[in-house]
Symmetry: C2
Subunit: 391 residues, 2 copies
């Protein structure tokens, strides 16, 4: 048979150059790119399993957990989230979803797909939950699982965690924490905070390209998994099977489940290695210091207001900003991308066309990037206003 | 709070060197590694969407399909498979699974997770289905979907496809084809063969590292998706949502779903580019020629027998071999890995400890690799026999 679909005859892959100062992904450190180019090995190779174990130990460090079951997940952050839900939900379980932004809204959908009975408590975009809010929600709905977002990527908040873990234990429910945009950028103590399950993406403050994520279950979560009455609804994300590949006693036989994303594991391993070399507390401090510089510069610009008023609940890695009313955010974003190849983010969900989002994460959390993005934004505002007046 | 989980203080990422001549992954072409190190861009960036569209057009070429909905999937091959099932299954649908190896057995499990009523027809490991077998299965079970494996990675067979598509259309059922280990290595004509849905991994003959996969739906499959009564059971793999991100008319607004694995898309784009530069028919011919050389060399070695007797149904990319009875396959595999850093595969499922699997795929499908692996196997056999006689 001859070919009916013709050869498209394209040129080699050639992406544009961008400085990524939006909500993620971020530019990775050159060493991470080099790690991705290291030789492929097989997913059952003892040499690869050694790297996998190293990656697990680094994940435990940055999450501050001794959870044995702390693993990379073969997909982007949403896959790790879905893995947590698929494995910790049995049809009919009540889940209390704490909604204070776009990702909370998404949780309502995602958790319901696995048969959870959804209950929610809500806070306006840009606010966080008080312990009493969560207590009232738990007492009213008696959930089996509470989903809480540590860092809402759509709003820029950072949820205070004091007392939440104890509250969930007292009420015999699991606490599932989204740490996608806080891991490696802000203090997280999974064990001290008594988090039962957490997940994260690699492409934010960890400094890894997107394509791999991570998950940690403590004994309470593992117990829920082991006592399931129904099979896990997803085969790809079935942790009872993945456990036999990724979490076996030293020297025991590992069972093939799916082909791991080798190069992305290298990338995550090397991103975490960079955090380890810097020191976790130093990485947290760097994100905070760079954010402070950004806040200072923004405070000097007329018409720019912090969307999250209270600095104590701001995620230093991701700053949400209301811009002057005569400056459409999409025009500003387009200007800095087209003129300077800088990506900053727009609003998501209810904040669409209302804010810009400036991410200073991982390798990109540096003071030079603050100077640059502020200068570019200033020029964009002038240009947009100039254009407006000449129309 | 101070850190309780200490810094593991490891060295930089350092995988072993391996020549991967097993069932996959394979070593990628150096240009593919370089592509992974290209600058990160955002997943909503117009520059990235351009690369995504290029990747889609290259996928159409290598699958020989004009299916508009031909996309990369953000996970390994099993994720693309699960995406096909999750989107094409409604609870209670009868699925006819054609089982002739380990992956057929796996299908029974995977499809059942999505509520399919499982019916199966079986052939022994190393055989393929005759059209009459499939016809009888369809007439008996009246399925809504037939799952068939084009290239069974556990056994090394290649399923003849003549008439299967017509048969499914006549009986008003969808045909889902697994092309994980045949894409880019053996002729596939999705359109001419009337395949309704197909999926593949990138890490076999396409020459991409694992971590990204692909999926194609024709209009019949899209129609099934659009007429669903129940929501897609997986959020991460929900193609009704992914469609709004990946498959929109030129110039239309794309809707964020999840963060795409940017570097892995570059890798897939560049792997496909290499196939395009070589020419698809030349790539098919190269895999076939290299396999013929391997068959010839193996035929000269006493006690080595082809597991798939009939050359017409052998997958050239993956050769399954029964080794002399006094040579345990696991010892042979260990010897060539430890002495020469060459990976060859063992048997899976019912073929465990019975065969070895030699993959010559993508960049590794070269005659020099045949000479090398044959020489290494010969030495391993001598060494194992030497050891045995001295015990």
């Amino acid at each position: 048979m001859h070919l009916e679909v013709s050869n498209p005859k394209l040129s080699p892959t050639n992406p544009p150059r961008r400085l990524l100062l939006g909500p993620g992904p971020q530019n990775a450190h050159p060493r991470v790119h080099s790690a991705m180019a290291l030789p492929q090995v097989g997913h059952m190779d003892p040499g690869f399993m050694f790297i996998m174990e190293e990656t697990k130990s680094l994940l435990k460090y940055v999450w501050q957990t001794s959870n044995r079951f702390t693993i990379p997940v073969s997909g982007t952050g949403s896959a790790a989230w879905e893995a947590a839900i698929a494995n910790l939900t049995e049809p009919g379980d009540v889940h209390l979803i704490c909604v204070n932004g776009y990702f909370g809204e998404r949780a309502l959908d995602m958790h319901s797909r696995y048969g959870a009975v959804i209950r929610k408590i809500s806070k306006p975009d840009g606010e966080v939950f008080a312990l009493d809010d969560i207590r009232a929600g738990i007492q009213e709905h008696k959930p089996k699982l509470v989903w809480l977002c540590h860092a809402e990527t759509s709003t820029g908040t950072l949820q205070p965690m004091d007392g939440v873990g104890d509250l969930c234990r007292e009420n015999n429910c699991l606490l599932l924490l989204d740490t996608v945009t806080s891991i490696c950028g802000s203090p997280i103590y999974l064990d001290k905070w008594k988090i039962d399950a957490a997940y994260a993406g690699g492409q934010k403050c960890m400094g890894c390209p997107p394509g791999v994520s991570c998950l940690s279950f403590n004994d309470r979560a593992i117990s829920k998994l082991e006592k399931r009455n129904s099979p896990v609804a997803s085969w790809y994300l079935d942790l009872t099977m993945i456990k036999k590949y990724l979490d076996v006693p030293t020297g025991a036989v590992r069972t093939y489940h799916h082909t791991a994303p080798i190069s992305m594991i290298y990338a995550m391993r090397e991103s975490l290695q960079l955090v380890s070399e810097e020191g976790l507390e130093a990485a947290w401090a760097r994100h905070k210091d760079v954010a402070s510089l950004l806040y200072k510069k923004l405070s000097e610009m007329e018409g720019f207001e912090m969307h999250v008023k209270d600095q104590a609940i701001r995620n230093p890695a991701l700053t949400t900003v209301r811009v002057p009313t005569d400056v459409p955010p999409d025009q500003l974003i387009k200007y800095v991308r087209e003129k300077y190849e800088i990506e900053i983010g727009g609003g998501l969900g209810s904040l669409k066309d209302k804010i810009i989002r400036i991410g200073l994460m991982g390798y990109n959390a540096r003071p030079d990037n603050v100077l640059l993005v502020i200068a570019a934004i200033k020029e964009a505002v002038d240009a947009i206003r100039g254009k407006t007046t000449t129309v």
